[in-house]
Symmetry: C2
Subunit: 214 residues, 2 copies
């Protein structure tokens, strides 16, 4: 069975839970308590050389890191149901939409960055929250323009079934709510988020439904 080293509130681990659920794969979870710094344990460096989550351990003991790269491996190794369209331009669009949270929002607002703002730059909670909200709202503004009115946008980000774009979007929506981002300007994103969150694979992956949720 696959093993996912994650944390209930980690966006990148949340993505992996959604993808594994959508593909109908069984997996066990090992919780690494990020707020307590469990990822910095020397032993954990063998599981993840960057001391981050997620890591996906295969049946053969291979240790896979970096959520976009794990996603592509899952898609190649367990192609059904596919979470990428069949046509190259559609695949490009879906991967580009996934990269908005994956590269342009989440890395700037994750725990270690917010901790640096507080500890090294002496920023208070208000400034840290404003920082997180700023990058979420800026990224979502671009994503909304990519989605709204595009002929390929459907019930989900691309067509009528979930893709990589939805897998990456939903954990960012969870963070947007945590930080109180203003979602009024993003009606398409909100509509797709509601559809996803009503879907069993997304619901079972939600932070609040994990054993290590606090």
């Amino acid at each position: 069975m696959l093993t996912l080293y994650g944390y209930y509130r980690s966006s990148a681990a949340y993505r992996m839970r959604i993808a594994l659920n959508l593909k109908g794969l069984e997996y066990r979870q090992v919780s690494i308590h990020l707020r307590d710094g469990a990822q910095f344990a020397e032993d954990f460096g063998r599981i993840n050389p960057q001391h981050q989550v997620p890591t996906l351990e295969t049946d053969s003991g291979d240790l896979l890191v970096q959520s976009p790269a794990i996603f592509e491996w899952l898609e190649e190794t367990y192609p059904e149901p596919s979470l990428l369209p069949a046509d190259p331009l559609g695949r490009q669009r879906v991967r580009a939409m996934a990269a908005v949270p994956g590269c342009d929002i989440h890395p700037i607002g994750n725990l270690r960055v917010l901790q640096y703002l507080q500890r090294e730059l002496g920023q208070d909670q208000e400034a840290v929250t404003a920082w997180a909200r700023h990058w979420i709202e800026l990224g979502f503004a671009g994503l909304e323009r990519m989605l709204a009115g595009h002929p390929a946008t459907g019930t989900f980000c691309h067509g009528e079934t979930p893709t990589m774009a939805d897998v990456f979007l939903v954990p960012q929506l969870f963070n947007a709510a945590r930080f109180g981002a203003d979602m009024d300007s993003f009606p398409t994103i909100r509509r797709i988020g509601e559809t996803c969150n009503a879907h069993d694979a997304f619901e079972r992956a939600a932070p609040g439904n994990q054993e290590d949720a606090e």
Copy 2:
């Protein structure tokens, strides 16, 4: 012919120039002056809905955004020479190494983030440079552990020919030098960087060799 909308010093555009050169594809470049804010022009929103670079325009006029997603499209559309290994675990490793600069370093240290630190949080040049260096050195520490002693590491990050991992690494090395990152702890990264920079496809892509270089 393909058209690349970029900027000589943008890491993400630099990646695209390397990949296009490695694949032997002809392309013309349109320079978008990021420091002058040319990406915020309303017209440019049609080219890139996030008002960022790069955008790759195809012969058919399709506008492709987000460098990791453009990379995968190039790989699928122009498979030779391949910039990903043939085996799924090798592909996973290469994509994971590309994600270190792609997701964990560059997004936190790019121009718009540094400008926010200065303008919104009142940080001085010293604090901004220390910030950029911090995320580069932290990311490279993880990447060095992924490379050093791994049996698949070769002349390049993975084997004896350039892959996506090298395409994403080299622009980050350019930034590391700009910000004065301490590279002493990363001998494998340094060795691979020197090999890449002596390679014609990488050299022609270097910021200093672009028409819009200042």
